[in-house]
């Protein structure tokens, strides 16, 4: 029998990732609260609920490794909650390690790798925390009935035995999906959600059944539960009768403190008015929109031609203006669907700060003010590594040791502050620390260059291999971090990285990132017989080239270096046609000046700049055509694929080719 659970998988990964973020946040809060002596009950219950959900979801798609970890974590939290004791440090450490192990297993799943079993050291730590927190479960007889017995793994059997020992009922309830039931809102997902509110779901076993009127899909889900709820309640939750409920216990176990499932706020589990949509579906809508934009493009061309031939197009132009605005509104609406709050990126950071302060022996507090900022999901995903490196730098290089801080009259605990502000189509993320600032003189001495202005200083800091630290340590100090942060912000997001403050009050970096990267403002250029598209943010200036401006440099082999003078500086000039090997009769008449983040400007000569427009960029993901310098392709209205050039990377490739 084969049941395809693949369709549940992406929804599963999304949901579990979200819950894991929640788990991390709660663990941090619990630790914080432990120091301050604050009550923990609420957080413990919430943590229990999240772990419980993670376990249930993972059992459903058969990710045994996560089930095993989540189950142990849940048991620890539950017994702390029922005992009313405070959670001890070792238990918290074990729980944090558990959370990290689950996260790395989720990552393995996302990357289609095999999920490694839970590390023995972790299980030992969790088990010992478990045995400290709860008395050992007494044995009870649980019957695993035929057809189900071999579907239940050792950890699930153990979980059932422990549950029964805690005074819960072990039951099996069957749910038979059908299209009729689905229409009425009874699917395995909704049933799982409903049951999850009143029972602990140990496992969901899909079982093949002969196709019949009762089981039109030839499929029955057997849900194995631990619960205090009555048969009638359970039957109600699956939309069936009490005949669907079978007890798995043959001898009753001594009653222990019952698990108060009903105490969990059911209303909290379902957020009304919120739907979970697979990103592919949103992308379908964007594809449709891009087709519409393309048609619109052709339409406006046609209208312009009509007007040129002397036809009165005034009314048509009015309609076109309305159409344009509606298209813009619709695009904004669709793109809003893809927007996620930046807090989803930030909530992973406290854990990072915690582990960095431990290894660096510094004390730091992280303050986050997201300002309600939202960015496209793709932007949020790409942004994270840049934040990691900048925060690492803030803690390792920016903040002083507690002793140094006290000597400087600062509080022992350093502050790293992230704040956000949304400005038209960009969001500004500021990462500031109250550390010692950057030693300009030392950076300049290391690089052997003057670093008196912030832009130069930043470019020196971002040069791979530069470190103001004499010794490289485990996490940073090799200068790689800044280089990666800059590349993420500038190259991958088309944004900007700036140095805002360097004085003794601390260092601040500002990231200006576009809210979305699916649609970009771009220049279309002609180059030989081909057209190309260049994102506007990458272009500093468009220059009309005149023969008198261009100077030929000395020849090296058969490649002649050309320059032109701009604002009193010589700018190297590259024939784009030559670089891309496009046959062309004439030389470039216009040039795009590209601002490179580290070095002097560089210009690309093209035949003509055709105009500026908004372009939907599709990435070239296939390994056959995924080359550096080409960020994707777009349709300019002729049905052909036009390349979107990343001139910054192209120029880097050029430099490499020159060096070779």
């Amino acid at each position: 029998m084969h049941v395809d659970l693949a369709e549940f998988r992406s929804a599963y990964l999304d949901e579990v990732e979200e819950h894991l973020n929640g788990v991390d946040g709660l663990l941090m809060r619990l630790e914080d609260g432990r120091h301050r002596g604050q009550p923990q009950l609420r957080d413990l219950r919430e943590l229990m609920r999240l772990l419980h959900t993670i376990k249930g979801l993972s059992a459903m798609v058969g990710v045994e490794a996560i089930v095993v970890i989540a189950h142990r974590m849940e048991t620890i939290v539950r017994s702390t909650e029922t005992s009313g004791h405070r959670m001890d440090e070792a238990a918290l450490e074990a729980l944090m390690a558990g959370s990290r192990a689950m996260a790395s297993r989720v990552k393995a799943l996302v990357e289609n790798r095999d999920v490694p079993p839970p590390p023995d050291a972790l299980l030992t730590a969790l088990n010992s925390a478990m045995s400290r927190e709860c008395s050992s479960a007494e044995a009870a007889e649980v019957e695993f009935d035929a057809g189900l017995g071999d579907k239940l793994g050792p950890s699930e059997r153990q979980q059932l035995l422990e549950g029964v020992a805690r005074g819960l009922r072990a039951v099996r309830i069957d749910f038979t999906p059908s299209s009729e039931r689905a229409r009425a809102g009874w699917t395995i997902t909704t049933v799982r959600d409903r049951l999850g509110a009143v029972a602990e779901i140990v496992k969901v076993v899909p079982i093949g059944a002969p196709r019949s009127a009762a089981a039109p899909g030839g499929l029955v889900f057997a849900l194995v539960l631990l619960t205090t709820a009555s048969d009638a309640t359970l039957a109600e939750m699956v939309g069936g009768s009490t005949a669907d409920v079978k007890s798995l216990v043959t001898t009753s176990a001594p009653a222990a403190a019952p698990y108060a499932a009903e105490e969990i706020d059911v209303a909290e589990m379902a957020r009304p008015g919120v739907i979970r949509v697979e990103i592919e579906r949103v992308d379908e809508a964007i594809d449709g929109l891009s087709a519409l934009t393309t048609t619109r493009f052709r339409l406006s061309h046609a209208v312009r031609r009509l007007a040129q031939s002397g036809v009165d197009t005034r009314e048509l132009s009015l309609v076109m203006a309305d159409h344009e605005r509606q298209l813009r509104d619709m695009r904004a609406a669709i793109l809003r669907v893809r927007m996620v709050p930046l807090t989803t990126v930030f909530e992973r950071l406290p854990l990072l700060v915690r582990s960095l302060t431990k290894t660096s022996k510094k004390r730091a507090r992280l303050e986050i003010d997201s300002g309600g900022a939202e960015v496209d999901k793709a932007v949020a995903e790409r942004l994270f590594p840049a934040l990691v490196h900048l925060i690492r730098n803030a803690i390792d290089h920016g903040l002083e040791s507690p002793e140094e801080r006290v000597r400087a009259g600062k509080p022992e605990e350093g502050l790293v502050r992230i704040s956000c502000e949304t400005k038209s189509r960009q969001v500004e993320v500021r990462i500031a620390d109250d550390g010692k600032g950057i030693d300009r003189a030392r950076v300049a001495a290391r690089a052997g260059r003057d670093a008196s202005d912030s832009a130069t200083l930043l470019s020196l800091l971002c040069a791979p291999g530069l470190s103001t630290r004499a010794e490289a340590d485990a996490t940073s100090g090799r200068g790689m971090g800044m280089d990666i942060a800059r590349r993420v912000v500038v190259d991958r997001l088309g944004g900007e990285l700036a140095l805002d403050s360097t004085g003794p009050g601390g260092t601040a970096f500002v990231l200006r990132i576009p809210l979305t990267i699916a649609i970009i403002d771009s220049f279309a250029v002609r180059c030989g017989d081909e057209r190309f598209v260049v994102p506007v943010p990458l272009v500093d200036e468009i220059v009309e080239l005149e023969a008198s401006m261009v100077v030929c440099g000395p020849c090296k082999g058969d490649t002649q270096t050309r320059f032109f003078v701009r604002h009193g500086a010589t700018v190297p000039l590259v024939e784009l046609a030559k670089l891309l090997r496009v046959p062309t009769a004439s030389g470039g008449r216009q040039a795009l000046v590209v601002r490179r983040s580290r070095e002097e400007p560089l210009a690309f000569a093209v035949e003509r700049v055709l105009g500026q427009q908004e372009t939907v960029v599709r990435p070239l993901d296939d390994p056959l055509v995924n080359v550096s310098g080409i960020s994707g392709a777009t349709d300019l209205g002729d049905g052909r694929a036009t390349l979107v050039l990343d001139l910054v990377t192209l120029s880097a490739r050029l430099e490499q080719a020159e060096a070779a």
Partner: protein, 157 residues
């Protein structure tokens, strides 16, 4: 369609539908289940910096699809594209890749007994692109290994 194109399904082995196309004077075939569609070919957008056998990219129903020039892939001299030129669009896992052939117009059914392993010389000479050989009437068909042609294995390495 050619009368020899449809052979009755064998009683002994499973039969599979194949898409047949021509490159130079040779007939090649891909299992129909691999092939998503066939389209006439009017040139691709060149992507600089790719391997020599990559003709570029084309746009198919809003998707960007890389195109492999089979002549270049098989080490044959280039030929100008004609009204006969076709792209055979195949899918392997997540990847969708188009192959340019000189012409393509046939679909035929082959039984598993008809498909023989490639001769050793051919196996080595053709860089593993040929998975099997089938004799249909007087014609020889080379069954392609789509994964090898699109470089799936090379990229995994």
């Amino acid at each position: 369609m050619n009368p020899e194109a449809i052979t009755s399904p064998s009683l002994h082995g499973a039969s599979t539908l194949f898409v047949v196309f021509r490159v130079d004077d040779t007939n090649y075939a891909l299992p129909a289940e691999t092939v998503l569609q066939m389209e006439s070919f009017s040139g691709a957008t060149t992507v600089p910096g790719t391997q020599p056998f990559v003709a570029g990219i084309i746009q198919l129903r809003g998707h960007i699809v890389p195109v492999i020039d089979l002549r270049a892939r098989f080490g044959l001299p280039p030929a100008p594209s004609s009204s006969e030129s076709r792209v055979v669009v195949g899918q392997l896992g997540d990847r969708i890749v188009a192959l340019v052939a000189d012409s393509a117009r046939e679909v035929l059914r082959l039984s598993s007994e008809q498909i023989k392993p490639p001769p050793r010389v051919l196996e080595q000479g053709a860089g593993g692109f040929v998975r099997g050989v089938a004799q249909v009437g007087t014609r020889t068909l080379f069954i392609l290994d789509f994964g090898r042609v699109i470089g799936e294995e090379a990229f995994d390495a």
